[in-house]
């Protein structure tokens, strides 16, 4: 039986799912409701400097009928009076001793101001503090949020001030709006932070209204960049998470990482765990569907762990990190080709057009009588379902020419119809790294490269 409990830098919770610091954690009443639904913890919406908010603060990215693949927001940190927040934090923690109550904070970059907010948070009995170095809008214009997160030296300095004052675990939250996510993470390690969390939202403009020609959303005729979050950002978050897990300094420090950025399902959650997260934070999916999604997040994760034989979250955490590598270490001799299962194929020809227009032109159309045909080659007088179905050609991969790019596999709308089949390449395994050290000339000169290809039998058409 899988055990979903976690101990994250000393913060315990009955499952790894925390509500991220955001609108879903704006008040005590909300968090009571969330804990009743089963959330393991909550990171209170950032408290600190005084703010005023605007209307039309959330934009969204929809694809077809699928709403809110991502949300974009210009909401600032909590606009509720700080005393009310602090009182409710204390009440929630008293009522829910087994849940993780973490308080996100953001104040002016002065040691005494930070010291004061840390002390006030600790007075509530909260389990931990998250340092918000991430908000990319509004607060950053006032020298807070991502204005800190984008400068590793600032991260380190402020975190040191915090660590001097704090007696409870401190999580430093990273902004993804930076070229190299590893540098602020290392700064957190250097400053002695107890944990890291990532990612905060990504700078974004969600769109332009084609009637009014104003930005979407329009705030009194104007708009600007906001923070982007939700399912669409997951791959970016996973990459940054893996970058920390594979960085020697961050990995060696053993600092735990709370992962977030587009977690909507238990599958997403499992992937964040496998790439090194040991607690998980969720926001957009909850803003879309409500607190009730916690049930399947836990249930699905539990069932999957059971199936895979994982006993604890700690066992899952980082399990796939050793699979993360760089291009230079990939086996250039590994060969896979696409194969279309004619039984499952519905002949939509999406693979055909993708391959022939935009990839490597190695899918043919084979008519039922076995001859190769061109698309749109039926007679103008031919019609009716029987003729259309019975004469419809079957897409087929010319495996000798297939470079294994995997585009057709990705566009195929039928489950398990196209598979990438590993075939022997007939070449010894070799990486670019090996090639560039052992046969440097090959990697630097096209003529030598040509000779090398002929020698090992690499044909590119």
């Amino acid at each position: 039986m899988a055990d979903l409990r976690i101990n994250f830098a000393g913060i315990k919770s009955p499952n790894p799912f925390w509500l991220a610091s955001a609108p879903p954690t704006n008040s005590g009443a909300q968090i009571h409701k969330a804990f009743e639904a089963g959330w393991g913890g909550a990171v209170w919406k950032t408290i600190g400097a005084p703010v005023l908010n605007v209307s039309n603060r959330y934009g969204a990215w929809h694809q077809g009928r699928q709403r809110m693949l991502a949300i974009n927001n210009v909401e600032l940190i909590s606009d509720r009076p700080i005393e009310i927040n602090l009182r409710e934090i204390a009440e929630v923690k008293r009522a829910w001793p087994d849940r993780a109550v973490i308080v996100s904070a953001m104040v002016e970059s002065k040691p005494e101001v930070w010291r004061e907010i840390i002390e006030r948070i600790e007075d509530t009995g909260a389990d931990g503090i998250e340092l918000n170095y991430g908000c990319p809008h509004g607060m950053s214009e006032r020298g807070m949020g991502s204005a800190i997160g984008q400068v590793p030296e600032y991260c380190e300095r402020i975190t040191r001030w915090v660590m001097e004052a704090a007696t409870i675990p401190v999580i430093m939250k990273l902004t993804p709006n930076i070229t190299n996510i590893v540098l602020p993470a290392r700064a957190g390690v250097a400053a002695g932070a107890n944990a890291l969390s990532l990612i905060n939202t990504i700078n974004s403009i969600v769109g332009v209204d084609l009637d009014s020609l104003e930005l979407t959303p329009s705030i009194g005729g104007k708009g600007g960049h906001g923070g982007y979050a939700g399912p669409a950002v997951k791959p970016i978050a996973l990459n940054m998470l893996a970058a920390l897990g594979t960085d020697e300094i961050v990995a060696k420090s053993g600092i735990p990482i709370s992962g977030m950025g587009g977690i909507a399902t238990w599958q997403d959650a499992a992937q964040f765990l496998l790439l090194g997260a040991s607690s998980l934070q969720v926001c957009t999916a909850v803003m879309h569907y409500g607190y009730r999604i916690i049930e399947d997040l836990c249930d699905g994760l539990f069932n999957w762990m059971d199936e895979k034989g994982f006993k604890t979250i700690a066992e899952v955490s980082g399990h796939s990190l050793h699979r993360v590598s760089e291009f230079k270490n990939l086996d250039l001799s590994y060969r896979a080709v696409a194969r279309i299962d004619a039984e499952k194929c519905i002949k939509c020809n999406l693979c055909y057009v993708a391959c022939n227009d935009t990839a490597h032109q190695c899918i043919d159309l084979v008519s039922p009588n076995g001859s190769l045909v061109q698309p749109l080659s039926y007679d103008v007088r031919s019609n009716g379902r029987h003729e259309a179905i019975e004469t419809r050609p079957q897409p087929q991969v010319r495996e000798d020419d297939c470079v294994g790019c995997r585009l057709c596999y990705n566009v195929c709308p039928v489950d398990d119809c196209i598979s990438m089949v590993e075939l022997p390449s007939g070449r010894d395994a070799v990486t670019w790294n090996e090639l560039s050290t052992q046969q440097t000339q090959v990697t630097e000169d096209w003529e030598t490269m040509k000779a090398y290809r002929e020698q090992v039998g690499i044909h590119i058409h």
Partner: protein, 445 residues
């Protein structure tokens, strides 16, 4: 009286409601956007279906309608009357293990939008100075006239009926296509500059010779003849199916429907007649057919529809006599039929069993046993194939510059609106090319 006519309107109201914008959007998103899509192949007019559907998804409804019109000027009618199960939707790749895209209803959504916003096709070509006469304002004639007009020709349609539209106006039951849809479509063709001369009967009010004299080309789109006789006693009391449907469209409040109605025949028109009778109050409606459900010519989905309407089927029965009392029909005497070896239609031949007479009660009998071949061919001395007007690949008949399209040439395959539309389109291209060639040869001299 008023409430009675309201009841009739309700009973004959268009069966499928229009898709809501939301439903259309959901359905359009479901389309996979197949490349060289089988739905497009299956459509006789080869509308680029994935393209018009994706334009619905992207809310480019004007472009969507233009895509449909580019291949089929009668998209509004076809969206309603096409046997989509046998054509586009029947070929949809999603049909195999889920359900096909509702192509017909999406097309109607785009066509309704075009109608509501008056986004109709426009003339593309400069005036050519050429004049073309089209005889018959049914789907084939309208399509041909519209396509020729778009190319810049001056087209006049001669129609013997009071209203244009042919079967769309008079012969398709209102459940599938309300009269107003058919008439609006003819107005759209009119807006391309096509002249309509209704109430002019070809062969009577105007002759072929006159048209040949006055026009550069003549297109015959005359459809089929009347329903053939059954050759049975008291046949004059049997109502013609097409007349029955016509009355249900033009003056439903005057249509007398029996309590116990028999429809002879099992094609799509027979199902339509039975449906009308049922909807307008008949307590019992029975389709009498001399073969079985395996041989009948109505589409499978029409058969299913008829059974859901509560229409009964009596197979293997050959009508032999109408039984009369006080000048009114009271029943249909039939002979039991056994199926013999295949006849010229390839179906088993019905063999009535002598002495097997039995009577089916009825107070109204309607016949829908197909239509006669066009009698016009003989009068004009046109070559025929199996009784239908013969045409070459360019739709030219045995007379030069006289073309024929639609049901009157349909010697093979099922007659349908969409096939007629395609004929009209292809014939227009052929006529346009021939006219251009003749101009070129004149200039060459």
């Amino acid at each position: 009286m008023e409430s009675a006519s309201r009841e009739i309107v309700k009973a004959l109201a268009e069966q499928l409601p229009p898709l809501t914008a939301h439903a259309a959007s959901v359905e359009a998103d479901r389309c996979l956007y197949c490349f060289d899509a089988p739905c497009t192949h299956a459509c006789p007019t080869h509308i680029d279906i994935p393209r018009f559907i994706k334009k619905i998804a992207s809310q480019n409804l004007r472009g969507s309608a233009e895509t449909i019109y580019a291949s089929n000027l009668l998209g509004a009618t076809c969206a309603r009357v096409c046997p989509v199960q046998e054509l586009c939707e029947g070929a949809c790749v999603l049909g195999a293990d889920h359900k096909p895209i509702a192509i017909g209803r999406l097309q109607r959504f785009a066509m309704d939008y075009a109608r509501d916003h008056h986004l109709y096709p426009t003339v593309k070509g400069a005036p050519t100075g050429r004049t073309i006469a089209v005889v018959g304002a049914g789907p084939a004639g309208l399509s041909c006239a519209g396509e020729l007009a778009r190319l810049g020709h001056a087209v006049t349609i001669f129609e013997k009926r009071d209203l244009p539209g042919g079967l769309s106006t008079y012969g398709i039951i209102a459940l599938r296509e309300p009269v107003e849809v058919a008439l609006e479509e003819t107005r759209m063709i009119q807006s391309l500059g096509v002249q309509f001369k209704t109430g002019i009967e070809f062969g009577k009010d105007v002759s072929l010779a006159q048209l040949q004299e006055e026009f550069s080309a003549v297109v015959l789109s005359v459809g089929l003849g009347c329903t053939p006789g059954l050759g049975i006693e008291s046949e004059e009391t049997i109502i013609d199916g097409l007349a029955f449907i016509e009355a249900s469209k033009t003056a439903p409040e005057n249509l007398q429907v029996g309590r116990n109605v028999i429809v002879i025949g099992a094609g799509n028109t027979a199902v339509d007649c039975a449906t009308i009778a049922r909807r307008l109050g008949a307590q019992r409606v029975t389709i009498v057919y001399r073969r079985t459900d395996r041989e009948m010519t109505c589409y499978e989905h029409e058969y299913d529809f008829a059974r859901k309407e509560g229409i009964e089927f009596r197979f293997l029965a050959q009508p032999s006599r109408v039984l009369m009392e006080y000048g009114q029909p009271v029943g249909l005497e039939c002979l039991r039929v056994e199926l013999g070896s295949p006849d010229t239609s390839g179906r088993p031949s019905p063999q009535p069993v002598p002495g097997s007479e039995f009577v089916l009660q009825a107070d109204q009998i309607v016949k829908a046993v197909g239509q006669k071949k066009p009698s016009l061919a003989e009068h004009l001395g046109l070559a025929t194939t199996k009784g239908f007007i013969s045409v070459d690949a360019g739709f030219e008949t045995s007379l030069r510059e006289v073309y024929a399209i639609g049901d009157c040439i349909r010697a093979t395959g099922a007659a349908s609106t969409v096939m007629a539309v395609q004929d009209g389109k292809l014939a227009a291209v052929s006529i346009h090319q021939k006219l251009a060639e003749s101009v070129a040869s004149l200039e060459g001299k």
